[in-house]
Every structure is written in C-alpha cells, then in structure tokens.
C-alpha cells in the first residue's frame, strides 16, 4: 500500500512547551479513511493540521504522493494545497458571513487559479447539488442557513478544488443528532464516490467507527493504538483504548463495566517519563516509567504502544 499522505516522527510543540504532537507516525492511503480519536488536548486536531501544513511540524518528515513536503517553500506548497481540503467543527466560524455561497465556493478556485470566471460560475451549482443543496442557494449568505446546511456549504467549499485528501476535524460535533446523521451520510457517500483519502477526527467513538475502517487512538501527543475498526472495538489491546470504550454511553445498551481512570490527564508540557499513560494506567509497572513503549504490531494490522498489551480480562 503506497501512502498518499505520510508523516514520520512528527512533532509540534507550542508556546509554553506544550508538546501537542510528540513523535507520531501516520499514513493514509489513496481513497482510504483513517479515523483519529482521542480526548481534548490529546493533539488530534494539531496532528490533522500538521498533515496539511496548516501548522508547520517542527520535526519529522511529511510526504504527499511520495514527495517530501516537510520544507517545501510556500509557493510550491500553495500549488499542492488544491489537493488538500479541510472541514472544521464550527460551520458558524469557518464561513465568512459577508460572502454569498457562490463566492464562498468560488474562492478556493480563484486562489488556485482553477478555470476562468465562467467555469467557476458554472461549477457552483454542481458543488451545491453534490452536497444536497439547491442551485438557488448560491446567492444567499451563511446566516440564512441552518447549522447542518452550513456544514454542507463548508464541505462543498473544501471539495471545490477537487482535492485528493480531505481532513474532517470534528465535522458533526456542533450538530444535533438528527443532523449529524445527514452529514455523516453525505461525507461517507462523497468519500466513496470521489475516492477521497480522508482523515476523520472526532472525540465520538461511534461516529469514528461509522466512518473509518481503520482507526488511530491518541493520548497526550502520541498514537497509543492503531487498528481496523473490527479489532479496535472487539479486541482493544491498549488500556487507554479500553477505558475510552468503557466510558462511551450507548443509548439503550447494557451498562458496561466502566474502567475508571485515576487522576487527571497530565500536562502536555510536562508529560510523564516512559509511557505517558502510566500515571493513570491500571497495569502500570516500574518498566513503564523507565522505558517509552513504541507502536508494535500485536496482531495483524493492530499496533499498540504498551509494554503489557492484551485483552481486558484474560480468557479463562
């Protein structure tokens, strides 16, 4: 499998020494959706932005279609950006309220010099119908739309330049349940129809399961487990993944035995030595403080960064 987007040993530290992304390897193939899940402050949004260089990585290597783009000059990078799109969480904050929908959809094409004015004008209704809106929505302003419709506009905008890679950063977290389903359906239909590579970032495990055949779990700046959705949900091996799954509240589901994590997430500017999860981990042992675990394959397609990986309760 050749990766469309690949990051190796990516690192990003913010002011105050916050190590948001601290040594992450990640790869997304052409046409593949990778889910990225974790709690606030784990670095998932930073990693997503680093992958399209909206945030510059400070260390590591980033490749796109096999080309090293880590230090690609701005001008050359701009040429590549038409191949990358991003949909943000808040459709109220990400659309300029003073632009009409037609202008919002045409802008990325103007920036990238796609076609002439007539071409761009002709493309607007196509983009609108692609996301389930009507051609006569083109002359309206964002405030005239509901949250779900605004997110559709944001998706159309991200797809205006026909990117190969789409980052979706919590695209449905600000939406109501009934609207969330509409937007998830739209995203997965577009992903398949257009053959997009997609990074689907969310704190919502069920939404990630729905969208992504392969899922990575982040904790405090690092990927702690990566697996197919079948493995991740049926046989999670990292104690953090297990705790996260046990905490998810499923409507009408039987109440699972909850793994209550002790203490609070440590500060990302001063993460614990060795394994970052050890301060809250029910399996922590002396080795965990001394030696940082690396992502290692424990089963086919399942990689875990833990010295003591394994199922929750050993089979009898």
């Amino acid at each position: 499998m050749s990766a469309l987007v690949q990051g190796l040993a990516l690192r990003k530290t913010f002011a105050g020494g916050v190590r948001a992304v601290d040594g992450v390897d990640i790869a997304i193939a052409q046409g593949e959706t990778l889910g990225l899940v974790g709690e606030s402050g784990c670095g998932k949004s930073t990693l997503a932005r680093v992958l399209i260089r909206l945030i510059e990585p400070e260390a590591g290597t980033l490749t796109f279609r096999g080309q090293d783009i880590t230090h690609l000059p701005d001008r050359a990078m701009r040429g590549l950006r038409r191949d990358m799109g991003i949909v943000f969480q808040d459709p109220f904050g990400s659309l300029n309220p003073r632009m009409t929908v037609a202008d919002l959809l045409a802008e990325p094409m103007v920036v990238h010099g796609t076609g002439d004015r007539a071409f761009r004008r002709a493309r607007v209704p196509d983009l609108l119908s692609m996301v389930g809106l009507l051609p006569d929505h083109a002359d309206r302003y964002p405030h005239e739309f509901s949250g779900g419709q605004r997110q559709r506009i944001a998706i159309a905008r991200a797809l205006a330049t026909q990117p190969a890679f789409l980052v979706c950063d919590e695209p449905t977290s600000a939406l109501d349940v009934s609207i969330q389903a509409q937007v998830l359906n739209l995203l997965s239909e577009l992903q398949q129809r257009l053959g997009l590579a997609c990074l689907f970032v969310s704190h919502n495990l069920a939404a990630v399961r729905h969208m992504a055949p392969r899922i990575a779990v982040m904790y405090l700046g690092r990927v702690v487990e990566e697996a197919s959705r079948e493995h991740l949900f049926a046989t999670p091996q990292h104690p953090y993944t297990q705790a996260l799954l046990s905490a998810a509240a499923e409507p009408g589901g039987a109440r699972r035995t909850r793994i209550v994590l002790k203490g609070e997430v440590p500060s990302p500017s001063d993460p614990p030595s060795g394994c970052r999860f050890r301060t809250r981990c029910p399996r922590a042992a002396p080795r965990c403080a001394a030696e940082e675990p690396v992502l290692a394959e424990v089963a086919e397609g399942q990689r875990v960064a833990c010295h003591f990986p394994g199922p929750l309760s050993p089979p009898p």
């Binding site: 709690e39 509409q182 399961r209 729905h210 409507p251 209550v260």
Partner: protein, 317 residues
Amino acid sequence: MSLISVRDLSVAFGGTRVLEDVSFDIAEGEVLGVVGESGSGKSMTALAIMGLLPMGGTAAGRIDFEGRDVLALPEREMQRLRGARMAMIFQEPMASLNPVLTVGEQIAEVLRRHRGLDRRAAHAEAIALLKLVEIAAAERRVDEYPHQLSGGMRQRAMIAIALACRPRLLIADEPTTALDATVQAGILDLLRGLRRELGMAVLLITHDLGVVSDICERVVVMYAGRVAETGPAAAIFDGPAHPYTRALLAAIPRLEGPIGALPAIDGVVPAPADFPSGCRFAPRCAHARPACDAAPPPLRALPSGTAAACIRAEEIA
C-alpha cells in the same frame, strides 16, 4: 407523592410560544431525563421551574413543588427556594463559576446566605462538600481559583455549590456535554451516588440519549416545544412508540452492530415562529397523514409502556 409536578406548562415570548402543554412529575429521589435537540424547549423547561426565564418570557400552567405553585410565588419567596430547595448546574462550569473568587468562597456564599453559617464554619463545610463530590486534596483545592481546576473538577465544584443546602431537586442542564467521555463517566457516577446517598431528585437535561440511558429512570422526549413521548427509560429504548423517538434512536451511530448509511431524519427542527399547527414533527415524519396536521396530538398511554403524542402510534408499531 411527587416532589414536583409540572402541569400544562407553556412559555411564550411575545406572541411566540416556545413551550406548550408540557406536563411531567418527578418523584422524591428519582432521576428524570428530559431529552431533545436544539430548540426542543428542554432548557426553557428547566429555567421556568427555577423561575429564571430570560427577559420577556412568561410562563403559564402550574409547577407544584413541595406543595406550592412556584409560578405563583413572589420573587422573594422564589429566591429562598432557589439554591436551598432546588438548585441548578449548567453545561459550562467555567462560565458559571466566578473567576475572581476561590472555589471555597463560592460554596461559602451559599452556606452563609441560606444556612447562616459563619465564615469559619462555612469554610469547613465547603471542604466537606468538596470531599462529597470526590475532589482529591479538598483542603488544598478549596482555596484555589476556577482556572486552576480541570474541566471535570470545575463541574464537581459546581455540583458542590448546588448541593450546599442539600436541595431536594437538582436540575442539571447538559452537565457533561462539555466534558470528555472518561470525565463524563465519572460525573455521571458521582450524580448516581449522590442521588442515592442524599435521596435527592435529579432533572437531567441533555441532547445525549447515551447519557439518558446511563443514569435516568424515566424520560421525557421533547420536540419543538412539546412532549413527544414519555415513559420509563427501558420502555423508551426498547419500544419507542413516537416516530420521532424511533427516528432519533435510529440516527445515532453505534458502537456495535452493522455499519451502513444512517437512517437520517430529513429537514430541520422548525423555529418557534414556524411551528406547525398540528403535529410538529409531521413535516419530517415518514408516517405522516393529512390528519396529523389537524390538531396537536395528545399524549396517549400505549401498550408498550410509554405515552406518545402520535395518532398513528399503534399502526406503525
């Protein structure tokens, strides 16, 4: 006997009725979930009970709490009730806590006002309350400011303030929505424990059916300012009778089971000015008939164990 009994509660702003004919009861020590999407009126219901409606809002109907109609109480009496007999916590603890006062001072404020404790006693009681909500190192945390606490600890501090006078009813409006899943789980466990320990009733307002399923005994499902369905949580989840409840449950991505296109609900919740005159869900309902537009359907008890406001509930079951 019910601790609180809400009867035909309506709330209007000018000529616009945002809430209409809402009725439910909460027994002593019971956890009732009020669930709905944005604009369903769930938060407005809570604010009406607390006598905290936004400017211009007027409530009609009856809200009997411990034998008194709180809608008819003078503001002075209401102030005595609020904080002492009923208390409320909100979604965003950082916005509800005063950033320039320590956590202890904010708890003490309630204790001194409602229970007349002196400074020293209030401080000691504040520490006891922080321990009750399971904040570690309470003796130290009591003198810290909100910004020094994590999100989960802030919500625990809010709960401590709300519990300061041992209210009989705790209204929790999206108490875990701003929190991470693992932190949310801890807060729900805490609420469950407190309710058992103190015998306090909880009105939990949420958009999250997972939270409802986790902690609530009975559920009120609201849609566009009216009650769509109500019943024991188990019956609501096992045999939802209202097409809205059914559609809502079906639209949620799950942790188990098949993966495919989600059965989404078309359209959006109407704005209060555009509420249909008949069934408010009819324009989005797959089972709607012309008769649904005639009049608002009344809540009817159904064999499944819930009561639903749908004239076709039996046919589509």
